[in-house]
Symmetry: D3
């Protein structure tokens, strides 16, 4: 078995990167314990790197009507529809962690219809999958469906915008044959005990 590299494009050395890019990478390393490959693979184009993570922060890092777990569900389901190994593996880990459910990452990736989800979550993913795969069919009836499940219009925008951002993300990963870090595969596979 061949072990593939982290990118099919050249990967810059950290020391050659602009200061702010390096700072962003250092930050994630401290928080996560390692540098997720997406940071290294995209760093070769600093302006695109900055825009990518600014967009990511605006959608994923900021507080919103969607929970952290709900956001990761959208990422995992739509990235699986695009067969994006990097995003499914990395965000599958985050979904396990944020939901404190070691089964949910795989369930949502393989078939969201049979995952252990609430009707609200199922409706959210049905619409996200439509926008991911047949965006031309998205319409006001999809918005109505989400409102009927208790989402606000701002939530609808978040669901759509996260789906849209990972449509980009998945394609950057396919373009560069981006390899997920080995660490992601095993993360969050044991549920945390509830404190008390």
């Amino acid at each position: 078995m061949a072990r593939l590299p982290i990118s099919s494009f050249s990967v810059p050395k950290l020391k050659d990167l602009p200061k702010d890019v390096r700072a962003r990478i250092k930050l994630v390393q401290e928080k996560t314990g390692f540098v997720p490959n997406v940071f290294l693979v995209l760093a070769r184009r600093p302006d695109e790197f900055r825009a990518f993570f600014a967009y990511y922060d605006a959608l994923i890092s900021k507080e919103s009507g969607l929970s952290k777990a709900e956001k990761e569900m959208i990422v995992v389901a739509t990235s699986a529809a695009n067969q994006c190994t990097y995003c499914v593996v990395a965000h599958g880990a985050l979904l396990r962690i944020f939901s404190n459910n070691p089964l949910l990452g795989d369930q949502v990736a393989i078939n969201h219809r049979t995952a252990d989800l609430s009707p609200r979550e199922r409706a959210m993913l049905d619409v996200a999958m439509k926008l991911a795969r047949e965006p031309q069919c998205f319409g006001e009836d999809d918005v109505e469906e989400l409102l009927a499940h208790g989402f606000t219009r701002e939530d609808v925008w978040d669901i759509g915008a996260i789906t849209a951002f990972f449509a980009l993300s998945n394609r950057m990963a396919h373009l560069s044959a981006m390899r997920p870090n080995d660490e992601f595969y095993a993360m969050g596979r044991t549920p945390r005990k509830k404190s008390g």
Copy 2:
């Protein structure tokens, strides 16, 4: 989040099952440490149960030109194409174990094209995926492609027959909303040390 049951059909009690069916279930329990749900879900129809596992044994349990890991690759890739949660989760575990590679189950399930595979393994999965998804397009050129990668005609039959059997298996799992045992998700996630 709702936790779904192991089947949408009734599941018989072990004590109500024919002796040979019970014996088969006891055997797998001793070997695996738990009873994979597929045994419980299919047991309600003993004749179908017997035929299903006789077929399984003839293709998967017996020795052949394909390694155990290669067989599981076929199962995982084609079951993922059918979004079959049971088969991907259960056989993903077996693939990790037989390949002694904790990454391979997820890689093959998400996108076999970007998995850490040899050209031979990639060719095998390309043909299996075609037979799974567009069986009407399978032809002698696919056989030639496999022979060119060192497979024998008997290996080709094995690759095709395993794909065919899981086309059945996946549909039985979808029919019954078959739920994978929680145990499968975490199995084989740490590579075994090489003895010596």
Copy 3:
């Protein structure tokens, strides 16, 4: 025009086959008047042969809530979706015979939506086609639809299991380029007179 052989794999001689396999073949020959090629093509792997026909008997030969004609409708419609020449031709003949309707085999094979079917039969085939082609979309709503047309849950299992078995069968036929016997094409093309 080239006349293709009955299989792209080697076909064993009857005298070289295990006794029980030979007996099964003799039985069908006596009943049908000729040996359907599927018996000869699969006989090269006696264990798989036994499992295949045990499964077939459990689903097709045994009595159940579905009529013989209904079972053949499922086989013909789903095999046509997979463009499986062997199964459409052989089971088209059986459908003509069991329904005593010389048109129904072709109608169901070409487009079950425009065949002369009752609403119950149409609903049955709609669900079978979904499980054949997009098994990941099969769900409890499909079960409900069938129950609403008077099927029992056991009937639903039969409909699903027959579809699943022919998903296997069709792929074995494509794998081996299995050729239907010439006899099947013309069988059942004249309706039987009603006795009395």
Copy 4:
């Protein structure tokens, strides 16, 4: 089982039709022994009727570089791709008759890839199927492929134009739920003896 009518639209009485339309219908009746339903179903719009059969005559009835059997192969294969019951049943009969091969109608309808065809016929149908299903992908490479199999550019036009005409024909049949005459199903099922 419900027996569907020959059209979901009103069908005019013969006596109410313009003289030339009636004459055309009488002609086919004398030749075939019955009136194929397509004549009755389309007669409600005499101008469209005239244009339809003028087009049909220009492509199918006239002599050309393609044999009568080759033309019917194109009609049957592409109509099967559109699941058009009328055209597959009616032209399947003509294909059996013109090829003097009682198997070929069903073989081409179910899967032209596994039919008893010469490489030239197979190439012809591969291109016709592309133009029928993904016309936007047809290109000069398809023309080259046909020329390499001995077709002339005029033959290519015929292949394409017949495919195009039945793209129309199939849709008129679906629009009107056009029912094939019962007679077609059994025609040509016994090969004619060779004279001499």
Copy 5:
């Protein structure tokens, strides 16, 4: 950039054409100011030319329950589904002119779901698109949908027949790599002032 010719097949000289074909071409030239390439490309087969334009006249040129703009909407939407450059460009011009709306040609070609259409027009195009792309799924429920929007059964026939005719037309254009005249692109891009 290469400028492609008007056809990949030979184009006859006007003087070599039969008198009636030449007369038809002269007529359109006088009316339009130039000869649309479809006339020149199809003229090489006079019988097919005559049938084609007789059909066109019966469906498009004659008065019917559909407005001229509605007919062109059907042509543009279904031709765009087939990615037919000739028909989208030529009939996009006619749609702009007949609707006196310089935006509508492009809107309907790109995505009829987001075009400035009435519910009646949207319903008409939804059904036409189904018949164009999945004709086997067209059924009585589609007819009912159109009747509910105020169309008559004769209108339904027109909608279906126009869709069917352009299924042919689009394939002839793809077959011959038919190039739209440059003039069409700019026609109707400025709305006419209302007189009075």
Copy 6:
């Protein structure tokens, strides 16, 4: 005919926007003569707005190995594949202008295979379309194809990244039912005279 609004979400007033967002909008208005609706529709989320246009500038506004016209070809072809009215109409105008070819916007939108393109441009769009529609199939062979047509690896990144960015962009437009400004439809429809 209903005239749809510019967004299905609320659109903020210019005076309520952050200063830098307003400045960006003023800039484009001065350059273009009007405010393209994408600026108004996205402004409701200033952080996303900033990231979106920073990304846009990094890919589209900066100099690179691709010409301005080549970039717009990618945008138009892939946005048409997603049936995105906003992007096809707005960038179709830019493509006409940058290529100084009034036909190219429509040609590329309808079917890039039949557009007046060089082999290099055709190859570029073939790969971009694959990444847009089946990103999971993109691979090193696509990179090789582009290199063979004279593109550098940096150009390949540009082609892929522009495709990826518009996968996002198209989905934001579908999410918000973003309406193109009327002005775009007519822009660039007359070729500029060459100075001299």
